[in-house]
Amino acid sequence: MVQDLMKKFHEAAVSPRAQMDKYMAEGKKIVLTAPVYTPEELIHSMGFVPMGAWGADMELNRSKEYFPAFLCSIVQSILELGIKGAYKGASAIVIPSLCDTLKTLGENWKYAVDDIKFIPMTYPQNRKPDYGIAFTKAGYERVIRDLEALGGKYDPAALAESIRVYNKHNAVMRRVDEVLAVHPEITAAERSDIFKSAYFMTKEEHTALVEEFLAELGEAGEEKIGIVVSGILTDAPQLNQIFDEFGMHIVADDVAAQSRQYRTDSPEMDDPLEALAVKFANMDNCSVLYNVKKPRVQWIVDTAKARGAKGVVVVMTKFCDPEEFDYVMIKKACEKADLPLALVEVDRQMVHFEQVRTNLETFRDMLTM
């Protein structure tokens, strides 16, 4: 049974286009959500299906007409897919302003992909003070206006309901992360499918599937080498295959496309839009969420210790400056805590993973010899 469910996660994870076509055939409208955080609850409440657009592993050609080579390949591949028509039929794409590269994506999208409306979501740098919350809320109001122009309808009661749906999904994703920490038999590839499929299914469907999976999960398998994985994106099949080949068990992740999405719920408040802005204010421990104290660094160390990880693997998306800046602090903190750390660099255009393999094989030896 677990295997049947894993198959469902895998199918959804590897075929976003089929998922999109399915929803469109049901008469639903699709709004794409770019990395790293977008107000999905809002999109959902206005009658659209939010679908993650984090690009794909591919060769980049057309995006180079707009971008220099030294921008992260996630953003480049989103534009490449947009230009080549992979997202055709989507009503809009919401692109947040959370890093400099994403800002340029929005600007270029307007010119490069004219059949999918660009909706900017401008977040404040200082999100926690009242003025920051008001700024975030104003950004959401702009998203509302743009979605209304596409036929969506804003209703606070509907948003309150969508928030409940998303909070429930957050909870189930936090639960699956905890449970998988003691289930080494679930491979890194399978873990990736569980998280990735969430982007291409409605949250209601995904919550139900994960709940079923948790109920079906049997006894824990044999112990492996526990690691914490940190980075923006770790969905490359070759990367996960290497983790699995070397007996590495992901006991926790600090991955933007995975657990970072689900750590914070929207609070219960009279004004659900305010609640959504407060949620963003409360979010933390992420390279794109400004915090001068960088609690993320200690979070990684503490989580690794709490989950009994033998080491930390930082999966660096090439040319991602927010992550590059944090890496130095993560390295120092891990050294201080006597926590072995490996750094591997990945890229959406990467075909050969031999160097990653050598790196992780050596890391495995370092942890076990």
């Binding site: 072995p340 750094l343 660099e345 031999e354 160097q355 393999r357 050598t358 790196n359 094989e361 050596t362 030896d365 370092m366 010899m369």
Partner: protein, 263 residues
């Protein structure tokens, strides 16, 4: 117990036969790494030299860039692990190993007890690798082994400012055209490799005793420049190119010991 370590690099293949995990009984090296006849030739050389038949070998481990494609071994191990083991075998108090191979550079830190505690790799760029020296030797129409002696005659090493191998190539050509002497150019080229690698080494942390391994270790000019840049002595052993293969043979021995302990 006889064990065999094979190190298939990007440009050379090395083999080492060891007895009891303590004594090197034969070694061989052939130009030509992955995808060439190099590994087969190095092995046949080894059998010619050793008083031992292939059937006497209890376990074979392959390492290096070409390890995944080689089918005649009992197992494969990462070259960093093997270099660390091999380096520590030759220098028992080794703490930092700088390996400059044909196409990459690696720094390995070892704890006092000899366990690998950190490593960094430069695997994306030819600058700071043997490939950089190859390309430069090619432009100067020199043999790679002549660089060392030529650099020793330098009066004032030229400065090679380009990090990129392709740009450095044109820089060297224009310096030649401007009349810079060959020894000064060669010394500058060696310093350029050393400067890239020392930056990498500092990232891992440099604790003496430090040694070099890999083909470039033979180049005294690079060793000297690296030593000056890092402010530490850098040891060299004539077996420096064999550290990977020695480590593989040692690894094979450890595995055999583990197997017999588990019986």
């Amino acid at each position: 117990m006889i064990t065999l370590g094979i190190d298939i690099g990007s440009t050379t293949s090395k083999c080492v036969l060891m007895s009891g995990g303590e004594q090197i009984i034969a070694s061989s090296l052939r130009i030509g790494g992955l995808g060439t006849e190099g590994p087969a030739e190095a092995l046949s050389d080894l059998w010619d030299r050793a008083d031992i038949a292939p059937s006497d070998v209890s376990r074979t481990i392959v390492t290096g860039y070409g390890r995944n494609k080689y089918e005649g071994a009992d197992g494969e191990v990462s070259e960093l692990t093997c270099h660390a083991l091999g380096g520590r075998f030759i220098f028992p108090d080794l703490r930092t190993l700088i390996d400059i191979g044909g196409q990459d550079a690696k720094i390995i830190s070892l704890s006092e007890a000899g366990r690998m505690s950190n490593f960094v790799m430069n695997d994306k760029c030819a600058a700071g690798t043997g490939r950089f020296l190859d390309v430069m030797a090619g432009i100067l129409r020199m043999d790679i082994d002549e660089l060392d002696e030529c650099a020793a005659q330098s009066v004032s090493p030229a400065s090679i400012s380009s990090t990129c191998t392709v740009f450095a190539e044109s820089e060297v050509i224009s310096q030649l055209a401007n009349g810079v002497s060959r020894p000064d150019l060669v010394a500058g080229i060696c310093e350029s490799v050393a400067s890239r690698v020392s930056a990498l080494a500092r990232r891992a942390g440099v604790v003496p005793r430090v040694c070099m391994s890999g083909g470039v270790a033979k180049n005294g000019a690079v060793r000297k420049a690296l030593s000056e840049s890092l402010g530490v002595d850098i040891d060299f052993d004539p077996m420096a190119q064999y550290f990977g293969a020695i480590g593989a043979a040692l690894y094979a021995h450890r595995q055999l010991q583990k197997l017999s302990d588990n019986k």
